[in-house]
Amino acid sequence: MNDLLMMTGIVKEFPGVRALDGVDLDVRAGEVHCLLGQNGAGKSTLIRVLTGAHQPDAGAISINGEQVQLNSPTAAIQRGIAAIYQELDLVPELSVAENIFLGHEPSRFGFSRRHEATARAREILQGLGHGEIPAHRSVGSLPAAGQQVVSMARALSREAHLIVMDEPSAVLDPEEVANLFRVIRGLTARGVAVVYISHRLEEIRQIGDRVTVLKDGATVATGLDARATPTKELIRLMTGRSIEYVFPPRREILSTAPVVLEVEDLTRPGEFAGIGFTVRAGEIVGLAGLVGSGRSEVLETVYGARRAATGSVRVDGVPLRPGRVQAAVKAGVGLAPEERKSQALLLDEAVFKNITVSSMGRFASGGFLNGRAEREAAAQLTTALDVRPAGVEYPVRNLSGGNQQKVVLARWLLRECRVLLLDEPTRGVDVGARSEIYALIRNLSANGVAIVLVSSEVEEVLGLADRVVVLREGRAVHIGPAQDIDEHQVLDLVMEGSAV
């Protein structure tokens, strides 16, 4: 078999950390090769080596049997390697065509040939089955899925033979994911190889051909059949353990438990309308819906980060002043937002500062902070939540996604929140850490915290929540106990009537 790409014994060290410790990877032309591994297993570093952003300390890379040095991103691009990152690297103000040809604009004597660019962009987009995307539109006005297609078109415009996709489905709806897969199949049919990274095993089964599993910076298995390898086996390879139950057992909610959060007739024109639900102490209410159904917007409005046009939010019977985050925080409401890095964390600050940021008053007298008390309180929580690496002085940036999420939860635990709003609490969290987060959420509710959970993974909502609110196009189409509804029914409700 002729390998398109062959990486052997790749080692990459950073001061104090051996990020890659002998990784092997071989990718064939026309296949979808899935890369599996927990956060911190070395996937990102491997991609950076492959795209020329990092230089390996040891090991060899060959393309079509020829040994190569990828000592810059440009070198990788010239070798036909392109990458589509989780955070899309597009320029929102520029048009689709300009983005596709960014850096290699068709030009003559230094003058860009815009007509040619537009025509070629159209061709490429049609080739991807997305001829409906207008080449002159600004990229910022496209939906996430459209932007991803543009990213792919850019890779193709450089005649890439190998495209690396880092969690491409993270920002997509099921419908859009299906579309993405169509595009990927089109690519592989033309002999392009795809390295596909995802946390979602079911996706890997759908689209993948072969699987390579990384753990602790090394390849633990390679060339596995993406469809035939049992889930248990994959999880065992990734974690070194086997996971049987992901969701902790449900507990009975007493009907006498007091109602903590009451949301009534909440409306924001263009986003959602007439949303109402209640959450008792110790209860978890899940909001299910597609991206754009208004689920995150509802959560942020309850929190006061957005101002409701009508309706009210009450905590312990007391109405919150609308559009005021401070009012919500004061009343004991906490939010773990969807975009952890950009919305929740001070990435360069120490763990303890991230934890105490919402309860600073407690550690201050006359405005002066007691750093020692802060560190002690934070250390107690990080220990209890098993944040790794331990130690509250590390900048949060150095932590993995799951541990960063724990830091955010610790922040609200420290405040002794009465209501916790969780938006996609397991996004970017690997399978092992997920179950820890699930257990943590359950523990919190057992301690009487009222929790509202938003997730795009239906099974997560059903597995954790006591009651489910299904949103479609800004309206609640179903409210009821989680046991009374299954994944298919939820999906039916969610998709029904939505533009397909």
């Binding site: 950009s342 919305q343 360069d348 750093g371 107690q380 002085e393 820890e436």
Partner: protein
Amino acid sequence: MTVEDGARPPEQTASTQATVTPPAAQRSTGLMHSGVGRNLGLVVALVLLCIVGVITAGHTFATGANVLTILRLAAVIGVVSIGMTFVITGGGIDLSVGAMVALASVWATTLATQQLASDLHWIFMVTTALVVGAACGLVNGLLIAYGKVVPFIATLAMLAAARGLAEIISDRKTQIITVNSFVDFFGGSLLGVPVLVWIFLLVAAAGWVLLNRTTFGRRTFAVGGNSEAARLAGIKVQRHTVALYVLAGLCCGIAAVMLMARTTTGSSTHGQLYELDAIAAVVIGGTLLSGGRGTIVGTVFGVLIFTTLNNVFTLNNLSISAQSVAKGAIIVIAVLLQQRLAARATSQ
């Protein structure tokens, strides 16, 4: 990882983690963030400059009088730079500092203010300068926080407007201070150190405490580092932003008082290009221009490096043009070094 793992009792994890993380690792990150480690480059630069000074002009450079001359020069721009450090750390920029100094100095030396001061107490001149500075800062802050005007633009507008207003009030004439008690107090010395230098030291010390030991300082880092996260964590970001610009304005008011004492005048030409000097000092001190990281100690060093450089050049009869070249080189070298250090810190 099982359910039981997730709910692991705290004592057990605590004991396992103690072995996972060697204390040395913690200490090293602590040092990176502490004053000494980060300011090492600045200390070296200042010492080198002093060595050059001693070698080339030892008999005048290494005298107490000359040190005081350097400090007196550093004092005014130093106080402005402390205020600038807060604004930049909080993710903003203030281009109007020089103009605010001019306006405050003019307003505090109008005939009416001086009359009031000579009738009652010089404190009225000081209060006027501080109030004018803080009020300008308030306008900046309100425009930026609530008007959603980009800091660069809002303070650029203030730069033009404040100096213009200063020219209108003073009719572009130099206003001479006749309140002797004011000049005597601020022009004097305490324990052999000029009052101006004392003020600089006080402002710097207060600034350090405020930035590093109070909730205000912590919020400044949070707002500058990630304002959206700060907002969602329950910090009043807008109000804090206003406070930062008021603080910068207040520092300009203090600097205006100092400049008034030094020159015995108020003038619309005071404080020219102070915004650039202050930003340069803050940036070579190690404060991140994009916000979220700031250091008062670094800023003080930055100011001292520039003023010492100036002194060494003057003592050696070298032209101001050569000095400007040296200044530019220092800025570039400092920022390059800073980037290297930052890159090393994040690649780990």
